[in-house]
């Protein structure tokens, strides 16, 4: 049976990808942020997961307003990246895992979720920056990835409780998949930031740290907030915590927080990173 070996939360801001491209990891601006990644990579090296289930949000590369999914799940053998319009270098294709993808889709539909099922999509920096951070120098080619995207652009967005439940159903699907595979979960995005409008630039370190605590001990607590309340607390893009909730929902029961880092601001964003290990 497939086994979830851990969950990683990480930002996916384009600036980090650009910083890696340019070798700026040791500059004062980035040093404290990048400090967390080598130990996480070591953990990945040791654990050798076969598959990464990656929660991200598309930022307008693939999921345009013409047909915008609430939840979309990749079922493709491969996912290309492409020009997003502001100068990040596209990276080589990401490898898929169609069998587990379809198993998850079947399980979701059986349990009254209504995903959009994607046999051919491009993935944007929301997916590629975390892959590059965790498996640098294109070594992400060695891991099979299932990209799952959540609408974080246009209201209405799924309620935090729905994203958590969505993750729970996906975790159940992974656990009942008849293959001896090791699965790592990636919850990407966040934390507090607001890119748009006169209020652009707000951050909320206190709320972010409360969310990081609750992601470990009590993710339901975050679901007490509606999306508009999240916007109020942590800025318009705080809603990206949806991906953290979905990731956390995949893990049954308690987790050990093995590592944590919080650095803010990177670009306009507060960056939280955690490594969570299921307790049983």
């Amino acid at each position: 049976m497939a086994k979830i070996i851990g969950g990683i939360t990480t930002a996916h801001i384009p600036a980090i990808g650009v910083a890696m491209d340019k070798g700026l990891e040791n500059e004062p601006y980035y040093r404290d942020l990048f400090a967390i990644y080598p130990p996480i990579r070591e953990w990945l090296e040791e654990e050798k997961p076969d598959i990464a289930v990656l929660f991200y949000n598309d930022h307008g590369l693939e999921m345009f307003l013409d047909k915008k999914p609430t939840f979309a799940i990749g079922c493709a053998p491969e996912y290309e990246n492409a020009d997003e319009g502001w100068g990040i270098k596209p990276i080589p294709p990401v490898t898929g895992e169609t069998e587990l993808s379809w198993h998850i889709v079947n399980h979701l539909i059986e349990n009254d979720f209504d995903p959009t099922v994607c046999q051919d999509i491009k993935v944007d920096h929301g997916a590629t920056v975390p892959l590059t951070l965790l498996w640098p120098n294109f070594t992400y080619k060695g891991i099979k990835v299932i990209p799952i995207s959540i609408n974080c652009e246009r209201h209405p967005m799924p309620k935090p409780s729905r994203s958590l439940a969505f993750g729970k159903a996906i975790g159940d699907a992974i656990r009942c998949w008849d293959k001896d595979s090791k699965v790592v979960l990636l919850g990407t995005g966040g934390l507090s930031h607001q890119l748009d409008g006169p209020r652009a630039g707000i951050l909320n370190a206190e709320f972010d740290n409360w969310c990081m605590d609750k992601i470990v001990s009590d993710p339901e607590a975050i679901c007490q907030y509606s999306n508009v309340e999240l916007v109020e607390k942590g800025g318009a893009q705080m809603v990206e915590i949806a991906m953290w909730l979905a990731m956390r929902g995949c893990i049954e029961g308690e987790v050990e927080e093995r590592m944590r880092n919080y650095v803010s601001p990177i670009s306009n964003t507060a960056v939280g990173v955690q490594l969570l290990i299921p307790k049983d």
Binding site: G60, E153, R154, H155, D196
Partner: protein
């Protein structure tokens, strides 16, 4: 009767159904900027490009004025606006400043004033 109108938050335009309807063509234009040939076509003749994408006169004027807050009010989504900003080489700190009425340096200082966790390493 159920009203799904979102609570106002000062300085924030919620990109909801109403705004997405208003801004559809504007966002469609910006979405096209995922391709370099489209960015170039816009650079070559912005007026013709905006007309091709059926922007309203108000939206065209906001583009001419480089007034990003106005673009948001007229239905622009920050995700597609970021691609528009890319054409001008404006990064998130530049447009953050433009929208919040600060210079880029002031905007960076505002971000830093809320910072945590740097230079500990």
């Amino acid at each position: 009767m159920t009203n799904y109108k979102m609570k106002d938050i000062e300085g924030t335009v919620h990109f909801d159904g109403e705004m997405a309807t208003k801004g559809f063509y504007f966002n469609k234009m910006c979405y096209s900027f995922n391709h370099e040939e489209n960015r170039q076509a816009f650079r070559d003749d912005p007026e013709a490009y905006m007309t091709k994408y059926k922007l309203s006169e108000e939206q065209k004027q906001a583009v001419r004025d480089q007034d990003i807050n106005r673009m948001l009010e007229l239905g622009g989504s920050i995700y597609y606006l970021a691609k528009f900003a890319g054409i001008f080489g404006w990064n998130m700190q530049v447009i953050g400043g433009m929208m919040s009425g600060r210079t880029t340096e002031e905007f960076q200082a505002y971000l830093d004033s809320q910072g945590r966790g740097k230079n500990n390493g």
